[in-house]
């Protein structure tokens, strides 16, 4: 398995997804060698880790990367040219490494590992599985996708024997924009490890005590995630219910835009920016919210929606997300439909029964969305290829 990041050194959903899937596969008896481009200080017992940049026999020069600089390195927000070089260099290294490891399948996660995946496929003469967690089209919202990245993606998808997008919405993007042969595509939805989080100490209780309701945005603040639609929906919500606070958790290149936009609309006093949070802090914010809103313009999966549910928070997700295809007990709206979003946010805030049924039913529902279920789909693909 070829990956680019693993938690806790992850920039977003990619590392989490690779980790969750690999763990579930190993429980089902798959032996995994997970190749990462750089040495990370990780302790994983269910699979073998290999770092491509170091001589893994002597391990003389361990590269230490802090969470912050790693995040900078793998950030999707702006693409440094050496990011592409990184992907190509990874391929060079993997080409040399591959022979040392027996493997029946080469499974590559996202474009940065596709050149490496192709190299391994050729060296080993084994089938290549290209897992697609996001595409250049999702990341840029379709505006000026980086042509080099697009070419790398296309080549990887073409050479792959099986292509696994994380949702049906993305499957369509792969067919329309990447011309991938539909017959080799198999949708594998992501899973969640902990479908029910325990109750934590309340956050933002000062506001709640004053009778304020909390609407949460959590995720990278980038074009793809639709932050501008969130701000505009907030404006509409506040016209009908002024006792609402909008909490924004995450960071990204549109954070300033979001601030200015909220200021321009005269509602900046109703916004709280928490920055990037993880672990219990993140769960506490989820738990404090009356509703989690994911207004993504283009969201291959949208694991944050499941995280919110695991924290017993009702969710409103954009219809342009993979997760909306599997969630029945969630509110849904088109990302551009500000009115509908505001309508639904207001309904959850004013009708207690709605919020209680959503909480209740969705927490039952997500117990089915385990990584084990995803692993079953992947195993099925493996069996067809071997």
């Amino acid at each position: 398995m070829l990956g680019w990041e693993l938690p806790p050194y992850n920039s977003g959903g990619l590392g989490e997804a690779c980790f969750g899937l690999a763990k579930a596969l190993s429980r089902k008896g798959v032996r995994i060698t997970f190749v990462l481009p750089k040495k990370l200080n990780l302790k994983v017992d269910f699979m073998d880790l290999v770092f491509a940049d170091v001589d893994e026999i002597t391990k003389l020069y361990p590269v230490y990367t802090t969470g912050y600089s790693w995040r900078k390195f793998v950030s999707f927000d702006s693409l440094p040219p050496d990011f592409v070089h990184g992907a190509l260099k990874f391929a060079e290294k993997v080409e040399k490494l591959a022979e040392k490891y027996h493997s029946d399948i080469v499974h590559a996660h996202d474009w940065m590992t596709y050149p490496a995946g192709i190299a391994a496929k050729e060296v080993l003469s084994k089938p290549l599985v290209a897992h697609v967690h996001s595409t250049e089209f999702d990341r840029t919202g379709g505006h000026y996708p980086n042509q080099t990245v697009y070419r790398i993606e296309r080549e990887g998808l073409e050479k792959a024997d099986a292509v696994l997008p994380v949702g049906g919405f993305m499957k369509q993007v792969l067919i329309d924009k990447y011309h991938v042969e539909p017959s080799k595509i198999r949708v594998v939805y992501n899973g969640i490890d902990e479908p029910e989080k325990s109750e934590l100490a309340p956050a933002l209780s000062a506001f709640k005590d004053l009778g304020y309701k909390i609407v949460l945005y959590l995720g990278r603040i980038t074009l793809q995630k639709g932050p501008e639609y969130f701000v505009r929906a907030a404006k509409k919500v506040l016209q009908y219910n002024p006792k609402v606070i909008f909490v924004v958790t995450g960071s990204g290149d549109m954070q300033d835009f979001m601030l200015y936009e909220a200021a321009n609309l005269g509602i900046i006093n109703k916004f709280i920016f928490t920055g990037f949070l993880r672990g219990d802090e993140r769960d506490r914010v989820y738990q404090s919210a009356d509703i989690y809103v994911m207004p993504s313009v283009s969201e291959p999966f949208g694991i944050t929606a499941l995280e919110a549910i695991s924290n017993h928070t009702p969710v409103l997700v954009s219809k342009q997300s993979g997760v909306s295809e599997i969630l029945q007990h969630a509110l849904k709206a088109d990302f551009w439909d500000i009115d509908e979003m505001a309508n639904k946010i207001l309904a959850v805030l004013s009708y207690n029964a709605l919020s209680s049924d959503l909480r209740h039913e969705s927490s039952k529902e997500i117990r089915n969305f385990s990584w084990a279920r995803s692993a079953d789909s992947v195993l099925d693909v493996y069996r067809h290829l071997i």
Partner: protein
């Protein structure tokens, strides 16, 4: 002797359009969707009429002409008839023609196809009276047999109908209330004096209503000849076979392509081949056959879902809060004496609104999804509550205006 009692339920709800919170206080028309979606009431009823009501009426009229022994019965909700008057007068005429044969009986129900009996007795009675008036006005007759929405039945309901002088009342022939007894006899409800209870033979009814086109069913394809043999097998072991189903079974739930009209066309002939069979209406069944035993139903039994209860209407928090909201307004709404307002309030009691909010997906989910014009039960709830809140504002406004005038 087996008497076959065919009763068809004809109902179409008046669906609430996508009604957003921004419409509250602005737009008082809740039911006038004119889009291409399934919230467009006119579009739906015209579609169902073309596929089902019109061809079925035509066929039944022909069958009534051909077989002098043939009889059928209907129950029409008031909101169904109202919509026919507005959008499909020709269909109304065709129903009137059927009734003129004098071999078509009409049953009594609530005008608004509501569950009012369980929330407000006085409102329930008002709706039964409104329905009676409507039936008299349209068909010139007064129904003598009562059926409640979704066949929702309890001892208490039977006792009410008994006091009101109804000859019979209908219910589901559900095994737990029957025990070892057969649905193919007439019974007496617990705590009543004269009224008779007719129980749906759900096995035979559902063979037609639900399983007819089901290719995985061991008895598929179902022919009229085979079905008649099943009915004949009851001879000597029952007196009346109650086949109760939605009228939309013919052409809408079961498609013409799958042969449902051919089945219906051959059915009377096949049933009448057996000399001991005949057709009967619910009122006639009550007059002809004695009550064999007493049936005790202390809790609500309906004809819906595998549970035969009302959980698809009032099983979750959004449903119960929506129902409570609407019935809590009763006193204030009626006090306004505002005709339009009262009518809108009653339209919000149509049981289908609550059915659309059902989140019980897993066992009966497919059926519920099929009938749900909203994208999700939560969307149904949101539009309903927004509209209900607008109605409440109207009520308040009228009270304010009134007190100013005084």
């Amino acid at each position: 002797m087996s008497s076959i009692c065919l009763y068809f339920q004809a109902h179409q709800p008046i669906r609430i359009k996508k009604y957003r919170v921004f419409d509250v206080g602005q737009d008082h028309k809740y039911f006038n969707d004119s889009s291409d979606t399934n919230l467009n009431n006119k579009k739906i009823i015209q579609k169902v009429a073309a596929k089902s009501y019109l061809p079925a009426n035509e066929l039944l009229l022909r069958l009534l002409g051909k077989y002098k022994e043939f009889k059928v019965s209907y129950s029409f909700s008031g909101v169904f008839l109202e919509q026919l008057e507005e959008y499909l007068p020709e269909l109304l005429v065709s129903f009137q023609k059927l009734v003129k044969t004098k071999r078509v009986e009409i049953l009594s129900e609530t005008y608004y196809h509501s569950l009012a009996f369980f929330y407000s007795r006085s409102e329930f009675e008002s709706q039964v009276d409104l329905h009676k008036k409507k039936i008299k006005e349209v068909f010139g007759i007064t129904p003598q047999v009562f059926r409640n929405t979704e066949l929702a039945y309890t001892n208490e309901l039977a006792q009410w109908a008994d006091k009101k002088g109804y000859k019979a009342i209908l219910a589901e022939g559900w095994d737990p209330i029957l025990g070892w007894r057969s649905p193919n006899y007439v019974y007496k409800p617990t705590g009543t004096k004269k009224i008779k209870l007719l129980l749906k033979n759900y096995k035979l009814s559902d063979d037609v209503a639900f399983r007819f086109s089901e290719k995985s069913w061991s008895q598929w394809p179902l022919t009229a000849d085979k079905f008649a043999q099943w009915v004949n097998a009851i001879n000597g072991n029952g007196q009346v076979v109650n086949l109760f189903m939605d009228y939309e079974t013919f052409g809408e739930h079961q498609w013409a392509e799958n042969g449902i009209f051919n089945f219906l066309e051959s059915l009377p002939g096949e049933l009448l081949k057996h000399p001991d069979n005949d057709f009967i209406t619910p009122r006639e069944a009550a007059e002809r056959y004695p009550a064999m035993d007493e049936i005790d139903v202390p809790y609500i039994v309906t004809w819906a879902d595998t549970e035969r209860d009302l959980s698809a209407w009032m099983g979750n928090a959004i449903q119960s809060s929506a129902i409570k909201f609407i019935y809590d307004l009763e006193g204030e709404v009626l006090k306004t004496e505002d005709k339009d307002l009262i009518s809108d309030w009653r339209k919000l009691q149509i049981s289908d609104h609550f059915y659309y909010m059902c989140t019980k997906w897993f066992a009966d989910g497919d059926v519920h999804k099929y009938f749900n014009p909203y994208e999700s039960p939560y969307d149904a709830f949101i539009s309903f509550m927004n509209a209900a809140n607008d109605l409440k504002l109207r009520v308040n406004q009228i009270s304010i205006d009134k007190s100013k005038a005084n």
